[in-house]
Amino acid sequence: MSDKSEFFITRDQNIYEVVIGLEVHAQVTSNSKLFSSSSTKFGAEPNTQVSLVDAAFPGMLPVINEFCVKQAIKTGIGLKAKINNKSVFDRKNYFYADLPQGYQISQYKYPIVGEGMVTLDMPEGQKKVGIERLHLEQDAGKSIHDIDPNSTLVDLNRSGVALMEIVSKPDLRSPDEVNSYIKKLRSIMRYLGTCDGNMQEGSLRADVNVSVRKKGSKDLGTRCEIKNVNSIKFMQMAIIYEANRQVDLIEDGKKIDQETRLFDTKKNETRSMRSKEDAHDYRYFPDPDLLPLEIDDEYINKIKLEIPELPDEKKKRFIDKFNLTPYEATILVSDIETSKYFEEVIKDSDVKLSTNWITGELFALLNEKGLDISDSPISSKNLSKLVNFIKDGTISGKIAKTIFEIMAEKDEDPEKIINEKGLKQESNPEELEKLIDQILNDNQDKVTEYKSGKDKLFGFFVGQAMKVSGGKANPKLLNEILKTKLTK
């Protein structure tokens, strides 16, 4: 993590700021689609999860899936947003082969969720990003151009799947903030169980709006929209490319055209898809097959009771109750599974030590193995035990690392490993004294040097003691006894 997330583009004397707004499309976690009962399971054979409604057969009518509405409300609450008592589904009309109805049912003028707020934890401190709105809409099907050389194939499995479009205000200023924003959104939705946030499977995609302006200016520049970017890395690359392109245009005295652009991940560049003049006229109008969605406060309040503790609140609690640093707390709450693991470990163990072991050794291990914490090879129960053995002096931190490595191979009780391998720490003062006496005796020349002022040799004696004890000597006790003996 860099110390600062700020991002400016400099050309000669001119410093430019980048203004970014995101339209995130998040697939609603739901077993069935927004207006039909077909399954939403990912990876099924093409066109096996398609109802007559999804394929827009004559006379077929949409019926709203209440669960998806609830999920959108939950997400709205998670974004600290206003839930609208009345929202309207509109038709967005355009022709495409993977859009069977010839229109997408979406929400235009009256979205289900209004203005909200997301808090980002940046190195400089917290940053608030405004949410403009969240609305529900149908996903389209998928056109596949590269299977048959002569025709395009269409898979309608995704057709009609519920999406939440979450539109941010143009409050983001750097690729790092975009990274942080997407991760925070994803974290909130995972806490709520409203979107799995899986970018590889397309559950989370974004359209990125980018404009630039001279630093200090209050006016917004002409923006370009980069369509359908499906990874944070690509979003960042696209923003950097696009912002530089726009700055170059301005520097050359040219105008920026408001347009829709595509990001080519292979060439790392954006290119024009269609200009403002060519923009579709979607002819939005209220879908006459659906009544306005009316939600009363009682219904919203009932859903509020189902909302779990969210990352921001959890972070505050971790700081207040467990004395964690904001940095530690941020890391531990970013993923709900991590926070659960942490709270299980600290139930019976020291918080500080547990935190260090989770954010240090465990994260390194998971990272190395490419695992999520929910698949951690070391259970929270066993890690808790390990921490306790360190804390009560049964083992040293160094031995603990050895035991941790064994645990990583098979999730074994650390107590069993300690007993089997005889790794228990030597904390008997008499035994330690014996050990030290022998070392001092064997190294009388060094003792003389030490006493004549060569303090650094203290480490040498500790090292020798550890070596002879096989690493089991209690370091604290060892230090104390050694000091006493050498000052005599």
């Binding site: 057969f57 006379g59 019926v63 097959d289 659906l290």
Partner: protein, 485 residues
């Protein structure tokens, strides 16, 4: 056998229940008559063999508790029927065979009805004369080369020609009531939300409503009872308590207040329509109703409002017919080319005209001036009726501003065709129930209808007034079977 086909539904049910006529005999009679009536061009798809087969099955295991025991019924080709081609009168669905059944037709089969076949209609129900159908125009049995009205023209013609004992149509701006008026039959458009739209090829979703078409009011009440139902598959279906319309039917309308809206007295309205209306008022008085003059001030805006709202919704509803998934597909050099050719060749002129109008009024820059304004006016029209219903129980108007016209007479002039809907569209815009009953004839002896408009969900009062007036009017169609050689 000819007397079987001229029975009313009520009489036919009675005969079947009393085992005087078998379902198969009935089916045979209707099939036989249809075979001799091809000249009327009422059927798009015949289901005769299946109908005969199913009627036999019914006779083998009859269930006389059903409301339509073994009754053969032909339906408008806008209702999707499992395994039976459903075209909506369009080339673009020429080869379309649904794997599913509309709720309304399913209700009919559940009560023992048997499908005779699919009846011709204006393409996607857009038309007032059945001349826009890809499958050719329909002859009105009243006289040769006269239109049967539209869009449910095949239904009204088949009914008047005794090719089906009863039928169903759909009504977006008058498509049940106007053809009923043109053929001397009864047609009811129920309150919006009464009959499920599930499985009906959509024209304009906020206006479309299925309804019964029959030889008399009693039959109408029997079929309404069968087809009106709450359906979770249609989000605009309304869960209200439905009457036993046929059981509750009464000719006693004493003391009911019937409104006469002055705005329906339009410029250039033929004398015979004015006279018919006056006659209707007299009949209503004779039945014991109190006549009250009322005002529906926004009536003159109804037609322009309708011709914005309906095409707007249609332009979007018909976007799914793109040649990609089902139906007609033309070949093209690329996707856009394929779309253009498919839709150019697949749709007829009137449908294309309305898609163009609808696309225009929804376009950015025009939306507020047209579509949004039309929606506001629609609210005002609805408010007119709400206020009127503070004073009256129902409203009496002519069904149409003229009698049936000649085939080809208006097909080159869309606006004069649209004017035909002037008395029927306000009812759709307000979502109200309305019935057309035959009430007299014009100078050519062509039938003329009167319309009774009711309060929302008050089909019973509408039916009762119609039933009572029907008795007084005692109208009989004079059909010569001219098309049967």
């Amino acid at each position: 056998m000819s007397e079987i086909t001229s029975l009313t539904l009520f009489e036919l049910i009675k005969n079947i229940k009393e085992k005087k006529i078998s379902s198969n005999e009935a089916a045979k009679s209707f099939v036989d008559r249809a075979e001799r009536s091809k000249k009327l061009n009422t059927y798009v798809t015949e289901n005769f063999e299946n109908c005969l087969k199913h009627s036999k099955e019914f006779d083998n295991r009859p269930n006389f508790d059903l409301k339509l025991p073994g009754i053969p019924i032909a339906v408008k080709d806008l209702f999707c029927t499992t395994d039976v081609r459903t075209t909506a009168g369009s080339n673009i669905l020429n080869n379309f065979i649904p794997t599913y059944e509309s709720t309304v037709t399913q209700n009919i089969w559940n009560e023992g009805g048997i499908l005779l076949g699919k009846l011709n209609c204006d393409e996607f129900a857009m038309g007032s004369s059945n001349e826009t159908s890809f499958f050719g125009n329909v002859q009105n049995p009243i006289a040769e080369n006269i239109v049967p009205g539209g869009s449910s023209g095949g239904s009204s013609a088949a009914l008047a020609a005794n090719l089906t004992p009863i039928t169903i149509g759909t009504d977006t701006g008058g498509s049940i009531r106007q053809p009923a008026s043109f053929t001397g039959t009864v047609g009811l458009k129920p309150t919006y939300g009464s009959c499920s739209r599930y499985g009906i090829v959509a024209f304009a979703s906020s206006l479309d409503q299925a309804g019964p078409m029959s030889k008399d009011v009693k039959d109408c009440s029997i079929l309404l009872e069968v087809i009106s139902s709450f359906d979770k598959k249609d989000s605009t279906s309304i869960d209200f308590k439905r009457n036993n319309y046929s059981k509750d039917l009464t000719n006693n309308i004493k003391g009911l207040k019937i409104g006469i809206p002055k705005e329906y007295r339009i410029d250039g309205m033929p004398d015979e329509i004015e006279k018919l209306w006056q006659k209707g008022i007299e009949y209503a008085k004779e039945c014991g109703a109190e006549i009250i003059d009322i005002s529906l001030p926004h009536t003159s805006y109804a037609l322009p409002t309708y011709y914005i709202v309906a095409p707007a919704e249609a332009s979007s509803n018909l976007a799914r017919y793109d040649g990609v998934k089902y139906g007609f597909r033309s070949s093209g050099e690329n996707l856009i080319d394929m779309y253009e050719k498919t839709r150019s060749e697949g749709f007829g002129e009137e449908v294309k005209r309305r898609i163009m109008i609808g696309t225009y009024v929804l376009s950015s820059g025009y939306y507020d001036a047209y579509y949004l304004k039309a929606q506001k006016v629609r609210q005002l029209i609805k408010k007119d009726f709400d206020e009127a219903y503070n004073k009256v129980d129902a409203i009496l108007t002519p069904s149409t501003p003229s009698s049936a016209f000649k085939i080809g007479e208006k097909s080159s002039d869309p606006v004069s065709m649209y004017l035909n809907d002037i008395f029927t569209v306000p009812v759709n815009l307000a979502g109200l129930p309305g019935i057309s009953i035959p009430a007299g004839t014009d100078k050519n002896n062509y039938p003329l209808g009167l319309q009774i408009i009711g309060k929302p969900f008050d089909e019973q009062t509408v039916l009762n007034i119609a039933y009572s007036m029907e008795e007084k009017i005692n109208y009989k169609n004079n059909i010569s079977d001219w098309w049967i050689k």
